[in-house]
């Protein structure tokens, strides 16, 4: 099995304004992009579990023009709130880097 980091060229999270968090996974070409999309590891239910939000709150976009998968979720607390742990939302993708994906043949 490969890990997501072996296939993607960029995995990141960032604030999309103070109330939302957005995840970008970018691939070097259409083939690797389509492979990960088809593998289903980045699905609405999986992302709902990952970000600890309701599935109905997950926006998931397979963005073919950029060979990218984008996921946007509401922040658990707004950016900069006392309970916030990540002001810019920049490190929330961490555990996704090593999730397993079938090898790109």
């Amino acid at each position: 099995m490969a890990r997501l980091r072996d296939i993607a060229k960029l995995i990141r999270t960032k604030n999309a304004g103070p109330f939302q968090l957005t995840l970008d996974i970018m691939f070097p070409d259409a083939r690797s992009y389509q492979h990960v999309v088809a593998s289903g590891v980045i699905s609405k239910p999986a992302m709902a579990r990952f970000f600890n939000v309701a599935e109905s709150a997950v926006k998931l976009f397979n963005y073919a023009p950029g060979n990218a998968i984008k996921v946007t979720v509401p922040r658990l607390v707004p950016s900069g709130d006392p309970a916030d742990t990540d002001l810019f939302g920049g490190q929330q993708f961490g555990p996704l880097v090593d999730i397993e994906v079938s090898d790109l043949s």
Binding site: G17, F19, T22, K59, G66, G94
Partner: protein, 456 residues
């Protein structure tokens, strides 16, 4: 010959620094303008709420001096959006004073447009009563009191304010809070280039040279728009754009990769196509813009109290192997101690936020492996209370409680925290929160954004 418009974005945010040499080399008389974004909500709500600049005066002045001298040397307008970090009136005036100071020091004469973005509260409340303030998703619940009592509320202006300021003869436009893209879309759209291309390019250009393959340090970008496409080229000869790096930046900090709302319409990037021109340049085509009723987004920050903090590290393996139970007992102990000193009425009037680095300090409740603790953990405790004195006092007590909190296996007095800073707890000042994620419908684009002019 195909008509075109070119412009320069020297840096992603004013005050972060950029290479003066690359900037000068990029100056050319065929530039229509130089644009620079100076703001963000990324620093949190205190920038707007507490009248704080995003970067230091010295850093902002350094960048501004280079930009003003450069723009004046080729006689093109300099457009700066979200002045002072948040674009509030205080922040805007802070930058206006710096610009005037630079003009005096450099013996330059030019016309400044100052565009405010903090609407009178009565105007906002009137809009709210008329049902013209709409929540975005997600948004906190609001009422009139939120609009009235927030420390500062700004409305993010669109492109029209920049165009009006230039029509008023401005050489340097200092805008309050603005959408980042409006700074760069204004002139190309006004000159009749396809709005889809103009807004899409602006969305990427607002970050200066950030849409490059590898950003060693922030440098600028030049954009050339024609009726068919736009082309991006980094100003640094050492940097390259690739279709991936440019597409990645179109996605950056946006909730939806296809549709992005701006005042007066929506970018639609569904048909966008990113192609390499050569090793360094990328060409984009196929972006659209759909006009919509004119709305501007509101940002608001309200004070929620004062904070103080403690930071230390735990290295005792005996504590670490039972960290959860030890830490649970500790938190209860701190609450008891605070109540013993201030009485039961203190309950609900203060908060302590604990962040445990090395366990789940970064992901919080989302951490899938909070049990994986290494050789040490870092413990950050931030207190919040209605006065600075109370927040400070509770931080001091919490520090003391952690230090001596018992460990079942040990006897005698313990010192459980290694403090890296002396004194070991300190004041953080006012705390704010964002209270709005709403748009307001306008009757005309300049309704909330008055422009005034002054000579430098």
């Amino acid at each position: 010959m195909t008509r075109q418009i070119r412009y320069l974005s020297p840096t992603g945010i004013l005050g972060v620094g950029f290479s003066e040499d690359h900037f000068r080399a990029a100056l050319s008389r065929d530039l229509a303008f130089i644009g620079c974004d100076a703001g963000s909500t990324d620093g949190g709500p205190a920038n707007l709420g507490g009248n704080k600049p995003f970067f230091s005066r010295a850093a902002v002045k350094r960048d501004l001096r280079i930009l003003i001298i450069g723009a004046r040397s080729i006689d093109v307008p300099l457009l700066i959006g979200s002045c002072g970090g948040s674009g509030g009136n205080w922040n805007l005036n802070w930058m206006r004073e710096i610009v005037q100071e630079i003009a005096r020091e450099e013996n330059l004469r030019f016309r400044i447009a100052v565009i405010e973005s903090e609407p009178p509260r009565e105007a906002l409340i009137e809009k709210y009563r008329a049902g013209k303030v709409r929540a975005l998703d997600p948004a906190p619940a609001i009422d009139e009191a939120v609009l009235r009592d927030a420390d500062h509320v700004v409305a993010m202006m669109g492109a029209e304010a920049y165009v009006a300021a230039l029509e008023g003869g401005a050489d340097v436009v200092l805008a309050g809070r603005s959408t980042d893209a409006a700074i760069f879309a204004a002139v190309p759209v006004a000159r009749g280039f396809p709005p889809g291309l103009c807004w899409h390019a602006a969305k990427i250009m607002e970050c200066g040279g950030a849409a490059v393959v590898t950003m060693e340090k922030p440098e600028g970008m030049i954009c050339t728009i024609t009726d068919e496409h736009f082309t991006l080229e980094p100003v640094s000869p050492l940097q390259q754009c690739s279709p991936l790096s440019v597409a990645a930046h179109a996605l950056y900090e946006t909730a939806d990769p296809y549709k992005m709302l701006e005042p007066g319409g929506e970018m639609d990037l569904t048909d966008a196509q990113y192609d390499a021109v050569d090793e360094r340049r990328v060409r984009v085509r196929g972006s659209h813009f759909k006009p919509l009723p004119y709305t501007v987004k509101l940002e608001g920050a309200a004070k929620i109290g004062y904070r103080a903090m403690v930071l230390g590290g735990v290295r005792d393996p005996v504590i670490l192997e039972q960290f959860d139970s030890w830490f649970g007992g500790l938190k209860a102990h701190i609450a008891e101690n605070v109540e013993a000193i201030y009485g039961p009425s203190i309950r609900g009037r203060y908060d302590i936020h604990y962040k445990v680095y090395g366990s789940n300090g970064v992901l919080g409740a989302r951490e899938p492996h909070p049990e994986r603790i290494g050789n040490e953990i870092g413990l950050l405790m931030v207190t919040l209370a209605e006065t600075q004195e109370l927040a400070y006092s509770i931080a001091g007590q919490a520090a003391h409680m952690v230090l001596h909190h018992s460990v079942p296996q040990w006897e005698g007095l313990l010192s459980n925290l290694a403090f890296p800073i002396a004194p070991h707890f300190w004041n953080l000042g006012e705390a704010y929160k964002f209270v709005l994620n709403h748009v307001v419908e306008l009757d005309h684009p300049l309704e909330l954004h008055p422009i005034r002019y002054e000579e430098a």
